[in-house]
Every structure is written in structure tokens, then in C-alpha cells.
Symmetry: C2
Subunit: 181 residues, 2 copies
């Protein structure tokens, strides 16, 4: 079945500090014309950091759109034209104050395919060395070292509900368990 | 540590057919003032549907923001003021043409906490009865009945990359395997 939608025209709705909003006119497979509104996003990296004591480095962070704190894996947006590995290294140090001497890209996931083109790359971050926590001025972050087995329980109990974090923890539990022992 | 950000004022940037974009001025824990841009979303339901032959009902759908087709669990947005169970039943029938006689809410996940307030509720949809596929006029959907064990392999191979679908499949594999046999 042909499912493709074809762009007819594109309008730039809003360009903020964070959000880049577009509205396109598209032709559907049946020939009908409709609108598609979406966010253009630079992409993001998500890290599964293994601390020197073999605990997983989770963080606690306030998320304004949701109006509450979340337990998450460290993550961040790519800077313009930035290599993903560089971005993963930079964001990890900014958020938890450790430099990863070994970064391995694991997979790519898509958090918001209905209204954003955001792609997220999941990295294993190992061989961590403490430098100093050097957070972004708008980010307030608490480090929560957690045993992988406990993190998995927090997922199944619904205490971790952020999708990138759920997927990173379940990925680690299925494929990387030996690294956390 | 106090991580809370306090709203000072709120501006409505754009209200489209799909996207509702806001920009607030907020006070950070250190007293500094900054902006927060985000999408207001009505929330969504995601279904794990078990077909009469015990296969998982996945669908294939073109996602315009990403410019390609995705393999997904059936899902949809809540209508204004709509009960989640009603929404789950309605969206499932619209997308795959089966009515679920048993819907069980499993958990709540958050796909996009950096720039959207979207909440997603995951439902088990069982005791399905074929009615007829009655898709939304803007939705073109192909049903892909899949064994749960195959769906899990597709996740680990990166063939399924949509976050709600990954989490639904891994949830089913960890907690509901007996229903797929």
C-alpha cells in the first residue's frame, strides 16, 4: 500500500529559542489535501552512564512542561553541526560532572513521530572520570546513582515514566547487564 | 535540592489544528529568569491489541514529520473531555477495525518532557471482535499481525524505533507473555 504524503508547500510558524514550528500543506495517498504541523528538532543524545562503582547514573530534573521532577538518564540536544559522540561527551559532563572515556552508540529511537522530527541516539558511556559538575545555567540537576536492578524495578512500578529513560534502562538490562556487576 | 521553576507569565504563540504552542517566563531555583517554550497536548492512548489468533496487532503508518513509514502500536489523541477507555476503544476500531471487549490500563508514560506536556496511557486490548476498518480520513494504515517474540526481535534490531511501541512491546514481553500463547 502506498502510504506516502507529499509536501506541496511549507510555512514557518515560529522560531523560538527552543521550538521551531512548521506547517506544511501535503497531498495524501488518496489525493486529498491536508495540513501537517510539526516541530523541527536538531536531534538528541541519551547516555547510559556506568559510574566507577558500577551503578547507573540517573539524574533528577524539573521538567517545566510537565510541572514536576523526573528521574532520567542524562541527555541533551545536539548543537548545530555537532558530531553525536562529541555531543554525548559534552552533555554528560555538563549534567553529571564525569567525562566518559568510552562512548558506544547503541541505537536510534524516535520519541514524538506524530509532531516532531526528533531523533535520539542512545549511547553507552563507560570508563567515567570525575571532573566537576558544570551544568548549563538553566539546568538544575541532582545525581542519583542507582543499581541497574533497582532502576528496572522503578520502571515496572511506574516511578520512571520518561520514555528515553525507560528504553535505556530496559536496553541495558537486556544487553549490558554484565557491565553493571 | 529545590528544583522547581515558577511561572511568571504565559504567552500563547500558536494554536493550530494539531499544535498548541506556548512560551512562559519562569523563575529558576537560583532566582534567574528564563523562557520555557512548550506544546500543550490533550494526552494520548496506546493499545497493545491481542488478535483472536494471539498475535500482536501492529500497524504501518507514514509519519510526515519523519518523512517515512513506522511500525507502531495503534494509538491516538484524546478528544476534548473524553474518557481514556472510550478513547482507547474508539481509536483501536478506527485504526484496525476491531472492537476490544476488554481494555486494561497498564501504565502512564511521558514521551516528550523537554517540550510537551503529553501524557500517554498504555492499554492492554483483549477479546477483540472484527467490525470494519473505519479509519480517519487523514490516516492510511496497514495492519501487521506479529508474533510477540518477533516484535521483540524487531525492537532489538532497531526495526521498531517508535518509543511508545518499543515500551508497549517490552512491557507485554515482561508482564503479559502468557496472553500471547
Amino acid at each position: 500500500m502506498n502510504l506516502t504524503e507529499t509536501k506541496l508547500k511549507s510555512a514557518h510558524i515560529f522560531k523560538g529559542a527552543l521550538l521551531d514550528v512548521w506547517k506544511d500543506e501535503v497531498q495524501l495517498p488518496n489525493g486529498r489535501i491536508t495540513g501537517r504541523e510539526y516541530i523541527k528538532h536538531p536531534g538528541a543524545v541519551v547516555m547510559i552512564p556506568i559510574l566507577p562503582d558500577r551503578k547507573l547514573a540517573l539524574i533528577r530534573q524539573y521538567r517545566y512542561p510537565m510541572g514536576k521532577e523526573f528521574i532520567e538518564l542524562p541527555a541533551g540536544k545536539l548543537d548545530e553541526g555537532e558530531d553525536r559522540v562529541i555531543s554525548a561527551k559534552r552533555e554528560l559532563e555538563e549534567e553529571i560532572g564525569f567525562v566518559a572515556n568510552q562512548l558506544t552508540e547503541l541505537t536510534e529511537i524516535h520519541p514524538c513521530i506524530g509532531y516532531s522530527d526528533e531523533r535520539m541516539w542512545l549511547f553507552l558511556a563507560d570508563q567515567l572520570t570525575l571532573t566537576q559538575q558544570n551544568t548549563d545555567h538553566d539546568e538544575f540537576i541532582e545525581l542519583i546513582p542507582t543499581r541497574l536492578t533497582d532502576a528496572v524495578k522503578m520502571v515496572w512500578r511506574g516511578e520512571i515514566s520518561d520514555v528515553k529513560t525507560i528504553i535505556g534502562i530496559l536496553w541495558a538490562n537486556s544487553h549490558l547487564q554484565h557491565l553493571f556487576q
